[in-house]
């Protein structure tokens, strides 16, 4: 093969590097999931008590308990159990709930769309508030908007989401009935929970956006941009913001990952049947297969979000693709 030169070489080389980068990140994703599922497996075994006794109750006979152990698969050595567990995970099979008997996958997939919608709404609300306000605060430091942003972010971090949720319900569902008090069948039901959820996220993203923008605006390439005679708008939004977003995207992505694990408290306040509540009740009822499946599911989702964040990050920051 002849030596590649010219523009084609650049394009090919760029894409090969990017594919390699994707591949490496994907391997890391698999490794993360393997480690997490291993930890979960052993943590569950370390918890005192035999799940078979919990299921069987105090009146059960020895035969019943043996039968339940066989059903749960806890009658064989731990090494064998671990092997089965890994084999199950590869097939995405987490068994059945000990309480309802329904498959764990089915239970999770029933609840996931609601949690996903809620998380997307929450993060979008957070971004809509936080990024413009953060940029405004950084560009006009010590102005009204900056002080407003500071007060907001202090409040956002200090106010617990359950309290905000209850106040929102009280004001916008009870006193002024703009939104329904409960239910989860329409988007309208999710607006108030999304606000309760996004409020604190916005505070974090806002602080970060401001700090990142302030830092970028003090860098040397901004002096170049000014020396080029660019307008303030171009300097701020084309030059500084692009660089500031590198840090913001990472943190926003991680926040989004947390929200996908289910917002236990907000779901409780608004009586929404999301993942958070599902897992909460699984813990109350010692429903081990559901807990295990839930934790692995959250870990997978979280890793996938991080994977996506890495890709966006590398698109924003051309330097990262090389390392």
């Amino acid at each position: 093969m002849g030596k590649l030169t010219g523009p084609m070489y650049g394009i090919l080389r760029g894409n090969m590097e990017f594919l390699l980068f994707l591949f490496r990140r994907f391997l890391r994703l698999l490794l993360t999931i393997l480690i997490i599922s291993t930890i979960i497996f052993f943590v569950i075994r370390v918890i005192p008590g035999d799940p078979a006794l919990v299921v069987a109750g105090i009146d059960a006979s020895d035969e019943d308990i043996q039968a339940i152990r066989a059903r749960l698969g806890t009658d064989v050595p731990v090494a064998v159990q671990y092997g089965r567990w890994l084999a199950d995970i590869v097939r995405f099979d987490f068994g059945e709930s000990m309480i309802s008997g329904a498959s764990v996958n089915k239970l999770i997939m029933e609840r996931f769309p609601l949690t996903l919608t809620l998380a997307i709404l929450g993060i979008v609300l957070g971004i809509i508030v936080a990024i413009p306000l953060g940029v405004l605060s950084a560009v006009h430091r010590w102005s009204f908007w900056d002080y407003f942003g500071m007060v907001y972010s202090q409040m956002g971090m200090a106010i617990p989401s359950f309290w905000l949720g209850m106040i929102l319900l009280l004001v916008f569902a009870v006193k002024i009935p703009l939104f329904p008090l409960f239910g989860s069948d329409s988007l309208k039901n999710l607006i108030l929970p999304a606000i309760a959820l996004g409020f604190a996220r916005a505070a974090v993203i806002l602080r970060l956006t401001r700090a990142a923008m302030v830092e970028e605006l003090s860098k040397e390439y901004i002096i170049t941009a000014r020396a080029k005679g660019l307008t303030n708008r171009m300097i701020r939004y084309k030059h500084a913001l692009r660089n500031a977003m590198i840090a913001v995207v990472t943190v926003t992505g991680i926040q989004f990952g947390y929200m996908l694990g289910g917002a236990i408290i907000v779901e409780q306040v608004f009586s929404l049947p999301g993942l958070g509540r599902l897992f909460l009740y699984a813990i109350y009822q010692r429903d081990f297969p559901l807990i295990q499946g839930g934790v692995v599911f959250i870990a997978v989702i979280f890793s996938l979000v991080n994977f996506a964040v890495d890709i966006i990050y590398s698109l924003l920051n051309p330097k990262i693709r090389i390392s």
């Binding site: 010219g6 523009p7 070489y9 650049g10 860098k219 040397e220 390439y221 002096i223 170049t224 941009a225 000014r226 020396a227 080029k228 005679g229 660019l230 307008t231 171009m234 084309k238 030059h239 692009r242 660089n243 590198i246 924003l316 920051n317 051309p318 330097k319 090389i322």
Partner: protein
Amino acid sequence: MPKKRADKRAVKRADSTLEIRDLNVSFIQGEKEANALRGISLSLKRSEVHSLVGESGSGKTVTSTCVMGLLPTPPARINAGEIILGDQDLLLLEEKDRREIRGKDIAMVFQEPARYLNPTLKVGDQITEMLILHLGMEKTEAVERALEILDLVGLKGGKRILDSYPHELSGGMKQRIMIAIAISCNPSFLIADEPTTALDVTLQLQILNLMLSLKNRLDMGILFISHDLRVVHDISDWISVIYAGRIVESASRETLFADPKHPYTKLLFESIPDADKRGKRLQTIPGKVPDAENIPGGCAFHPRCPIAEEICRTSQPETKNLGGNHTAACHFIGKQWKN
């Protein structure tokens, strides 16, 4: 294509000099006032390289940022002076008009290209955005023009370079890109703030040669800021030596190198290592440039000067014209001393 550009240029300017007159700038910090520039005057002609030479802290960079209109006020305060381009005083212009001059009529090249280029924008965008903004070009036209400019600054590789990010290029290439950005709108004047200091010696020469050839081809005036007299010798038509915010001596390159008059200039020459001085101990100038906050009374150089007398402590020497626009500010011009 070239014809069209020539037309634009003809309409655009009648300005053939950039003149700084008696510029006085302070930095205010609380109660303290630091007098960074104390009456700088210099004039820069088209197709001429005028070098401004001095130690760090002497006011070189303040001068260049002030000409660009990039000095943040506050903390800086312009006390007096004019910067004349064509028939207008830049210091009297509104920010909006000032901005239109930046990059288009007066452009700037900085010391460390790695830090002064935007790391997340492709090099091509960093060039074309100026053409689109200042010359109203369409994107495709701007890309065509950017390719021509790359040729001008000696970068082979065309579109591949335009599609690169700064970190994918070497230090010398990055400085060529900085220069490409600066000359993209055919500016009348270019301010080069130590453009070769961050580069290694072989590259320095290439970049200097490039700047000289561009000066001739584009009929640009270059204000070249440096602390290095050797570099200045290779490139300058005219040289001004700055000390503590004042120009102490100004002359054509030939005159200054053959017959320096101010003791500071002489000492600067003696501190250059060269073949003649082999085996001898290299001269250094004792002390350092005073802080702009504590400039000595009289002649600011007197504490370090080998020929200073009582009058130097009390009275600031006037700038005298020694013929042929060779000027120097010293009470004892031409007086010799023994080491």
